[in-house]
Subunit: 143 residues, 2 copies
DNA sequence: TTTATTAAGGATAAATTTGTCCGATTTATC
DNA sequence: GATAAATCGGACAAATTTATCCTTAATAAA
């Protein structure tokens, strides 16, 4: 569904939303430990998210990352788009370059409905609610 | 969503359903040309589908492939499972090894509904209907 | 000012997926 | 029996994704 990079990216953002409340900066080391991801690879992903403007980074001692907006203003779609592009939202189910209602692949209309549901879900799910579940201990970032 | 191998596999099966009516054997060469896929790679995928029992292969001159069952008895879920395994059906959206209602990842329940819809769609979509669209010229396998 | 800590970023390596090549085998036809 | 057409299957190569290493730059604190 998503690339590994995107999975790490989503987990990192959820963790930062949960751990970075009150403007506290969260370090790469802490993030990678909490989401059980390879440190250097995670660094690349956080760099990307920073360049994309949905994360803020601060260098130097006691530096780290924080969300670029309130957690309830950042949705999953933004993160997925930043890392995996819009393949998830627009890409053809059978990989055709051009696939649309006028010249559809055989599964085009079967997929359309469901792709729309996915897009809607990603757009309406924000980091605040996901972080809340984590905080309450009803959801988990590893295992 | 699906691997490239799986995309080719689905396209190949749809094409065979359409071109192999009346028990006609369809050759690898023809299939690869029609779905615009690399011949040798497609061969591997068809071999796999044959081993999985959803395709029948015949060696030798005038040999080729045919569906192992009536087109309306083969659904997309079988093909996807044969090639990509059940990752699509069971895998966690964030890549966790263990992710279930008892120990869910943060997006588990958000994904569950939609994954179910996907599984349902794949299970209820059969090759016959997809091939029909192709035959009528309302859907396409390349571009 | 020195030191420790932290992110940035380039180069490289490992793993996986995708794709190619080629000889062996099977089968129909001449 | 020889030949041509077709799949099988193993080895290899290329491309992409995932992961690592190392140097540089920035910042806070001692």
């Amino acid at each position: 569904m998503f690339s590994k990079a995107c999975e790490y990216g989503i987990k990192a953002m959820i963790y930062i939303a949960q751990a970075g409340e009150g403007g506290r900066l969260v370090s790469l080391k802490e993030i990678a430990a909490e989401i059980q991801s390879p440190v250097a690879f995670t660094a690349k992903i956080l760099q990307l998210l920073s360049r994309e403007g949905i994360l803020l980074s601060t260098k130097g001692a006691f530096g780290g990352f924080q969300l670029a907006a309130a957690a309830d203003k950042i949705n999953l779609a933004e993160i997925v788009k930043a890392i995996d592009g819009d393949r998830v939202f627009n890409g053809c189910g059978l990989g055709l370059k051009e696939c649309n209602a006028l010249k559809p692949c055989p599964v085009h209309f079967k997929f359309a409905a469901f792709r729309e549901q996915l897009a809607d879900m990603l757009q309406t799910t924000n980091l605040h609610e996901l972080a809340a579940g984590l905080k309450k201990g009803v959801s988990f970032l590893y295992r």
